[in-house]
Symmetry: C2
Subunit: 189 residues, 2 copies
């Protein structure tokens, strides 16, 4: 399985790292040794919404070769800025053939703008349910909403719940529990 962690200027770091931690443990704890991932960005330099710099491993490359695309959210003004002023959505659309696309927080607005939420249920940060409505069939107030090929998670820290949910989906409950314990996390879904 090939995973693309999408990062972009103005994202919220915890949206990204919360799901990155459990997913990467599928490989580092040797449950899915064949798992591979890249940190994918449209730009060579990425800072989060508070100025923290991250280094991508792939810049401006087509996303069609990945099985799983993971899109974090950000302060909503940054997300709209991304939609309005860059080629980000065109780039995100190159992942159309990917089997599974997931988002955290306002990342679902980006999936929506790319057209990936049409006819689906989805969620986002509770402060932004209204903005999500136009992109999807119904906005759902749940921590994780699974629509098979698209899974969305609610606010910032739901990223961790999404990650553990995906661990269970890919490797079963026992593996998910081992990862959860290693993360010293108490599941709330």
């Amino acid at each position: 399985m090939k995973v693309a962690f999408i990062i972009y200027e103005g994202m919220t770091a915890l949206d990204f790292i919360g799901v990155y931690d459990p997913i990467a443990r599928l490989k580092t704890m040797q449950f899915l040794p064949e798992l591979e991932w890249e940190i994918c960005s449209l730009t060579p330099h990425v800072s989060d919404d508070r100025g923290l710099g991250f280094i991508p491993t792939k810049v401006s490359e087509c996303l069609s070769g990945y099985d799983l695309i993971i899109v974090p959210g950000g302060v909503v003004a940054n997300v709209y800025n991304l939609i309005e002023t860059t080629d980000f959505i065109q780039w995100l659309k190159t992942s159309e053939s990917s089997k599974l696309k997931v988002s955290v927080c306002t990342g679902s607005l980006l999936l929506g703008e790319a057209g990936f939420l049409k006819g689906k249920k989805a969620t986002t940060h509770p402060n932004h349910f209204q903005e999500l409505e136009k992109y999807c069939d119904a906005v759902v107030n749940q921590r994780v909403v699974d629509e098979k090929d698209v899974i969305t998670a609610r606010g910032v820290t739901s990223s961790i719940d999404l990650g553990l949910y995906l661990c269970e989906k890919f490797a079963g409950n026992e593996v998910k529990e081992k990862i959860r314990q290693r993360m010293d996390y108490q599941s709330i879904i």
Copy 2:
């Protein structure tokens, strides 16, 4: 208040980002506009324990000017490697005069090696309670252990609880609750 987020080769990203998110919100949500922070490293390049690159804002600078020092953990082999093969502990000791030093997960072994846990109670990841014993007065199985000038948090995701605990300490319960809600987090301490 000046905060130093310490980062180092082989750290666990979520240990750092879990506490960084709520602490930085004290400023971005304008509760403590005078708060400042730096991302401090001994080396110009830092990758986490899975290869993710971070960009520090201060490299190899004395830590004595900070009020709060925050030390993440990492896979324990990486932490011992840091202790045995680099000047990291000497560098960390330059924070001796800082009013408050906190750690997440195996970061407490680094605080311990620097001598900051002498006569204190402390915690770390449950898998490493034994390694912590020699550095402190007593190892405590709690998510956050507050010894006034030193606060330690347990495993990886306890970083978030530590961050919210510090928000309450610095700005009160009402502010902490607003940050917790914005993070869409259900407190477990």
